[in-house]
Symmetry: C2
Subunit: 186 residues, 2 copies
DNA sequence: AAACTATATATCTAGCCGATATATATGGAA
DNA sequence: TTCCATATATATCGGCTAGATATATAGTTT
C-alpha cells in the first residue's frame, strides 16, 4: 500500500487538489499514515497517467491556479483492490524511544525535558483528535463514516496510552540519572 | 536521526556483524525503530568510511565469513551528538487503519477477519515483548539498562492498548456492516 | 532434488521525507 | 523597504529506506 491508495481513498470522499489532499491527510489521518507533497504530487501524476484520476486546471482570483483531481471508475476499482489485500504490519518510528534507550548519555535535566516534551506532545495530539471526533470538516466530507470515527478514536486512545505510560514509568530513567549525579547543564 | 545512529547505538552495546545488528534490531527494538539489511549495510559502509566504526573480517567454520564492526571513539561522539538533538515526532504507518477507514468496501466477513488478525498480532507482539522484559539476550548485552526496560515496557503497553481499543470498538464498524447486509463471501 | 531454515554479505529499485523553489496575496515587524 | 510569517497552490531534488533479490556455506525436511 502506498500513497496512491491513500490519495485514491481521500479522493473517494470528494474531488480535491493536491494541496487539499495534503490538508486532509494532515488534519484527519496523518496520525496513522502521513504523506507530504514530495510523495503526493508524484503519486497524483502517476495516477493521472494511469487513468485512475482525472485532473482539471482551475484559475482562481487572488490565489494561484489549482488542479482539481477526481477519482475515476478505474481508480475506484484500484482502490477497492488495494483495500482487500492483507495489510502490512503497522510500523512505528520513534526517535524519542531511541533516545530513551540510550538515555544514560543525557543529563538529568535533558532527560526530564525530553520526557516532558513528549508527554505534552502526545496529550496535545490526543486533545486535537478528541476535538475532531464529531467533526467532519478535517475530512472534507459531508458526514462522518464509522471508519472515520474508529480511526480518530484509535488515535486518541493510543496517544493517551503513550503519555500515560511515559508519565508512570519515567522514574525508571530519571531515578538512575539523579543517583548517577548526571546534573550537567543542558 | 537515521539508521547510522541506530547502528552506532547497537554497537555501543558491543561489537557485532551487520547480520547481528539486524538480529538485535529485529529482536529488541524493531517495534519502535526498524531497519533492514537494505539500510544497515550501506550505513555500516558509510560509517566505516567516516571512521565511526572499524571493521574486521573473520573466517568461520561451516559458515560464511563475517565482518565484525566495532564503534570508535569518533563514533561514540557522533552517537552522543545525535542523541542530544531534539528527536523528530514519532511516526506511525498503519495500513490496517487505512483499511478500517474505508472499511465500507469490505464484506462483514472480511472486516471481521482483518479485525481478528490485527488484535491477535498486537497481543502476540505484546506477549513477546513481555517475555523479553527481563531478558538481555535479545539485546546481545550482558545486562539490561533502564532504557531497555523502559522501551520494552512501552511496547507492551502500546500493543495492549491497541488490541484493547480494537476489541472494544470493533462494533462501530461491524454493526453497520451487518445492517447493510455486507455478507459477500471473502 | 527441492524446499526450508540459519548464518552471512551485498545490492537494486521504487518510493518517500524533508527541504527547497516558485507563484499570488496579505499582514506585521525590523 | 525588506524580511518574515501565514495561507493557498504546484513542483522537484537528493539522500535515505523497505522489500525484494542474489549469492554463499551448511544442515534438515519433504
Amino acid at each position: 500500500m502506498d500513497v496512491r491508495t491513500l490519495c485514491l481513498g481521500v479522493l473517494s470522499l470528494g474531488e480535491r487538489s493536491g494541496y487539499e489532499i495534503r490538508k486532509t491527510v494532515e488534519g484527519a489521518l496523518g496520525h496513522f499514515f502521513d504523506a507530504g507533497f514530495g510523495s503526493i504530487y508524484p503519486a497524483l501524476n502517476r495516477m493521472a497517467k494511469d487513468g485512475d484520476v482525472t485532473v482539471t486546471a482551475i484559475g482562481q482570483e487572488k490565489r494561484p491556479d489549482k488542479k482539481v483531481y477526481r477519482i475515476t471508475q478505474k481508480g475506484r476499482l484500484a482502490l477497492a483492490e488495494a483495500l482487500i489485500q492483507v495489510p502490512a504490519k503497522d510500523r512505528l518510528r520513534s526517535e524519542f524511544l531511541v533516545v530513551m534507550l540510550f538515555s544514560e548519555i543525557l543529563s538529568a535535566g535533558q532527560l526530564g525535558a525530553r520526557l516532558d516534551e513528549n508527554i505534552r506532545l502526545h496529550r496535545q495530539i490526543a486533545k486535537g483528535l478528541e476535538a475532531c471526533k464529531n467533526d467532519c470538516v478535517p475530512w472534507g466530507a459531508q458526514r462522518l463514516t464509522p471508519g472515520m470515527r474508529f480511526v480518530t478514536g484509535y488515535g486518541v486512545a493510543m496517544h493517551k496510552a503513550a503519555a500515560d505510560y511515559i508519565e508512570e514509568n519515567r522514574h525508571l530513567l530519571e531515578a538512575p540519572a539523579v543517583l548517577a549525579g548526571r546534573n550537567a547543564a543542558d
